[in-house]
Symmetry: C2
Subunit: 441 residues, 2 copies
Amino acid sequence: MLLRFALHGWHRCVRIPQSKCRPADQNLKSKIVHGVRFLALLVQKYGGTSVGSIDKIKNVAAKVAAAKRAGNDVVVVVSAMSGETNRLIALAQEISPLPDEREKDVLISTGEQVTVALLSLALKEIGQPARSYLGHQVRIETDNAYGKARILSIDSTKIVEAIKAGEVVVVAGFQGVDENDNITTLGRGGSDTSAVALAAFLNAKACEIYTDVEGVFTTDPRICPQAKKLGKISYDEMIELASTGAKVLEIRSVEFAKKYSVPVHVRSTFSDVEGTWLVEEDDSMSDVLVSGVACDKNEAKITLVRVPDEPGLAARIFGPIADAHIVVDMIIQNASEDGTTDMTFTVPKADHQKALAIVEKSLPEVHAKGIRVDTEIAKVSVVGVGMRTHAGVAAIMFQTLAREKVNIQMISTSEIKISVVIDAKQSDQAVRALHQAFIAN
Amino acid sequence: MLLRFALHGWHRCVRIPQSKCRPADQNLKSKIVHGVRFLALLVQKYGGTSVGSIDKIKNVAAKVAAAKRAGNDVVVVVSAMSGETNRLIALAQEISPLPDEREKDVLISTGEQVTVALLSLALKEIGQPARSYLGHQVRIETDNAYGKARILSIDSTKIVEAIKAGEVVVVAGFQGVDENDNITTLGRGGSDTSAVALAAFLNAKACEIYTDVEGVFTTDPRICPQAKKLGKISYDEMIELASTGAKVLEIRSVEFAKKYSVPVHVRSTFSDVEGTWLVEEDDSMSDVLVSGVACDKNEAKITLVRVPDEPGLAARIFGPIADAHIVVDMIIQNASEDGTTDMTFTVPKADHQKALAIVEKSLPEVHAKGIRVDTEIAKVSVVGVGMRTHAGVAAIMFQTLAREKVNIQMISTSEIKISVVIDAKQSDQAVRALHQAFIAN
């Protein structure tokens, strides 16, 4: 019945893309001072768990030096040592529960600063000349949205000089400066974006993202043992996977890679096996209906019950939510017979109480009969560029879920993705069934 | 006998002032962009123990806000939280016993960055608008001597703007950038120098140095219970005291204060009583023969026995030591009858083995008969501008020590200071006797 309800409202089903709320680095203007193309330049990024101790930093230094010895020029981007950013935030919160964003960025950007210095020392210690650079030193200029800044430009002069001198360049990820030299940070996963942006500005042959998994999998191996590593995946598929719960890469870094056609290689810090390449879509990809199945349990669903179905309603509801910087993911509204409608939308679980308070305030104005909240939901998605050319993916998906007696609460689609919201308790079962239906068969 | 020996060699007794080894910020060129004189501008500096915990940072915020409420504009300079710099250095040394100086500065400068952010947050939390600035943001430009850089200029534009906007400005001490934006640190006590330099460039009415003691004392109260706090002291006296073991202020910051006539108020973070003012010398000061008695146990004595007394000897001995950046404090050479001489000098105890190795290498070249080393020495000094106009201080000092049966091994003087090197075991006794003879009587 709810499936019918959702299908009924199909043509009005809207997804507000994240890029609407925050244009994704679109004002980027290149300031490449030395527009040299380094044929063998690699940008490598190592995350917090890869540099979480002195021994791990030494391990990273050995990998970097090996890449350099193999004939590559190397620029390394590092995150803070794992746990360090949280330690710093805890200090700030001892002073203020909601710390000022500018000062918080000054504080937490020290995490990456410590790592670049230590990694440079570790490289020098094994005989590899190296040099650290911070956001202000290579002028990774961003807007001034503290805590979630976007990169606008990078001055590659010093990096190019150091590379020419045979040095490995170690750049602090996650951080930049605005036009007035205020320190900014890029938000969650920001070091990925730093790395891809550097690869773009330096015309690197590839950006290697080193992490604690071996690549991008067809689905979460912890849920589905048949999951297999993808050899390659298109930028668009990765963007959809990132936005549907596959947390290998932050979405903004993938958008960046797509925009500048940066080949990205996601691979493990702790082994030498090939990982997954993010590349431009090619013909072979469209033969595959579904590349991945993703599951996101970090959303909550809010329903406004029986609001009058009249123009301007959505603006009155979602305006104040947007003003509070809460990202709304899916919105569904079903037309009804009696002139009222149920309006359902999802927000990040962490923001759902804030969103609820805002909606409750506007309750009299929108004449809703009530509010329902559900935090026990999961968004399960199938993603694949093959959907562009092949019909019937939705049908197979819905049949598969029906066979498993999984009730669908909401549906949203893009050209290469179908997402459904279901009961969180059934999500593992749904992921396994969909993986079996589309990929493992 | 040794006293006679020292007096015999008196005219050849040389002290290499620290400023010879490292000109003390003499190239300083003012770049004051807004040459406004703030009649009520205070620069306050809080050291590591004053900001050693979140509670202590909150205490500092309260003191700063009170000074602002009292009608002052306030610029605050802070050090790293106590223990933090050592923690960072230990991390670096896990990688490299002698870490690269550039990367070490990148690493340890994060300590002050954390503190400026936290103090700014604490100020905002109690309703006092505040803003942190790092060395590169207000362009505290230094030379590029990593780990011991000298301040060349400060761009006060942003500081002046923030002050005009009613904000307290919190500046990271100890750090700067060289002309190529490399991060530098100023060495031990560098935050004092940052504070005095800012006070000079901003034409502040005073620079308050908050510390864990109540001011400058006539001698160390732990050694001599009769020690009393000085109400004021001249820059020159403070420079001599700093160079003779009174570690309230680092010598370079006092030289800076003298050069730019910055009134400096040394006082306690943990009480409101007046401390000690460092000011220009005035007439009342010369009535006092001796202002302070200092004791320094951090030097070691090296003697080259029976070297031929010929031109160029000192250069051959001290050239290689200076090249190794070891600061030689006192040098004494006694002429003798048989054409040989004993050459005795002191170096920081921490450097004495390095110095010994260098001297041993040059042993054949200088034809010395042997080397003697003594680490169990103390340098006891009496300091006072009154010596300029009053004779007899040396005589009283030597008589006092003779009465106490303290043997004098070396003597060095300046216009306002007499230092003697004695057996470390007798140093407390000597300090108490000299304090009694000159000050407490």
